[in-house]
Amino acid sequence: MRHTISILVENKFGVLSRVAGLFSGRGYNIESISVGETLDPKISVMTIVTKGEEAIVEQITKQLNKLIDVIKVQDLFEIDHVEREMVLIKVAPPQQLKAEALRLAEIFRGRVVDSSQKTYTIEITGDEKKIEAFVELMKPMGVKEFVRSGKIAIAREKAKQ
């Protein structure tokens, strides 16, 4: 199963490679990883997407917890949460499809963040399925290049009873 793991770590050099090294050293796979500072600049949050059976993911979370610089590990698998990733996609649609590209971007609530005579660069955020659907739709438009961010995720705040 695919798990999204959120890890609070000390914001020090070398921490990312400790975490990534833990995965590579034990033969676990990272599907995506994203890192950023939190409100406290001494702490960063990493969101890692990995795949594995229950026992493997249990080992992964335990091993992550064991790292000296890791403050908290949360497997969001069984927790209601919001996930987002972003894609920047540069398309070069033929003249007759230019309007269509912009229309599709609008449907997906994308934003054109750059344009040239031949290309549009569109920013889309959303969950994985939305991103994939958009990329598929854009393919006939002549995708020149696209970059995807890693996933970021946050647990939903529980509504008060």
């Binding site: 770590v9 000390e10 070398g14 490679s17 400790r18 090294g21 050293g25 026992a55 249990e58 080992q59 335990k62 091993q63 917890n65 064991k66 790292l67 000296i68 610089d69 890791v70 403050i71």
Partner: protein, 577 residues
Amino acid sequence: MKITGSQIIVESLKKEGVKHIFGYPGGVVLNIFDALYDAKDIQLILTRHEQGATHMADGYARSTGKVGVALVTSGPGATNTVTGIATAAMDSIPIVVLTGQVPTMLIGNDAFQEADIVGITRPCCKYNYLVKDINDLAYTIKEAFHIASSGRPGPVVIDLPKDISAGTGKFHWPDKLNIRSYNPTLEGNRWMIEKAAEKISRSKKPVIIAGGGVILSGASDELRIFAEHTDIPVTTTLMGIGAFPTEHHLSLGMPGMHGTYYANMAIQESDLLIAVGMRFDDRVTGKLDAFAPNAEIIHIDIDPTSIRKNVDVDIPIVGDSTKVLFTLNQILKDKDKPQWDEVRKAWIKQLDEWKKARPLSYRFEENIIKPQYVIEKLYEATGGDAIITTEVGQNQMWAAQFFKFKKPRTFLTSGGLGTMGYGFPAALGAQVAFPDKTVIDIAGDGSIQMNIQELATAVIYSLPVKVAILNNHYLGMVRQWQELFFNERYSHSYLNEVPNFVKLAEAYGAVGLRAEKPSDVEPVIREALSVRKPVFMDFVIDWKEKVYPMVPAGAPIDQMLFDEQPKKEDKKLKAVK
């Protein structure tokens, strides 16, 4: 008042109570060595190789329970410590390795003798640091010692750029540490321990497997109280040897690949395994899905990652072995002892039958020295009052099988990594800690040649370590596998010319003795023990001798090979890797 970084390092080490450092100088650590020149409370043992220094620090740590310290230079000095660091990591040994680094300005510039040792050692140490600010030095050293020695212990590396050790700053020793992300769980969950006690009091065929964690935690006394009160037999893993006296009536010796028949049978037949401070290494479990098929498992370990890593566990208890066993003993004290006395009679009887049926044994011969005989004689000559280290291979297994250990921290061996060349420097480290104790390295002729240069260290520092070389001109364990599983194709396991160990010892200024027949063994040992000098005892042993029992890798642990068994004809055994 400002002092140099090197002086801060030395002062910090003093604060940590460091008395001995094992090291080797070089360009970027000259300032530190210079500061040590005046440090009367700290003795630096100059080794002949940085690997030797780390193994010595490791042997020092294993025998004393304190943190061992090594100090080396950058680049090759630092990379030479990697095997020692990995060895300590696999066996959870607290050492702090101080490595020199090129000045901060040059880091990343491929400067002379630069190596990214923080990057290189990251996967094989518990934690590491690159100190970039002189004001962090003292705190870093305090934190490093704390991390190395607490929780599940392990090696910590501190990389010290030259400008940091040469620069000046204020020495401020921190009162306390604040590591928000590191809080090892020491107390086991009370509810879980109670559940465990309940299972223990009901079990009919329980077995305790004690590992190195029992020794590291100092839980031997609690373990003994636990076993004796509940009448549960104890098997000690290679790393757990010494945690429970070998000659105790409840001792089953070592389990696993070269474990005793009765330990393996007991595990396979048991209805409850109580694993303490051990991690179900593949050398212990053999074929995993055939391991202890009828047993429920209680696993006590300070490291949560050890629990459910290899085997499924019914009652996991994360905590320090001493504390958990103490609580368990308190709970069991109130339980009705006669209740289990009765049900376990049959089990104890069965164990005694297994012990009688296949004890550890070998065939003594008049004309050729059997390695097991040498170890028996070493035991007799010392009365078991010795620190034994081993190299890796047959020598290690025979030592584990035939020497009888009474106390923890008296058997030092590279269990996890299986480092040939470990035993001799580790013995020197232990001898530095205990100058008046008998320290013996049980070695093979292959292994001893891996760190033989430390003989110079032994001679110069008058460390009277005795090395018993079980000399068969082979990499014995490799040969054994080739004989059993590779149709006797002895590809590169024959060492052909081995040095004349007697002359070699003499060349270094040590004593060399040779025994060629069984009647030489006792006199050689007696003479070796009577001189206060390092001694190489060269025992020319039966080169055909193998370690039995043996569970072929990947087989269930109750499928053991014995000496008398026809080996080559058994096709089933060849099928396993």
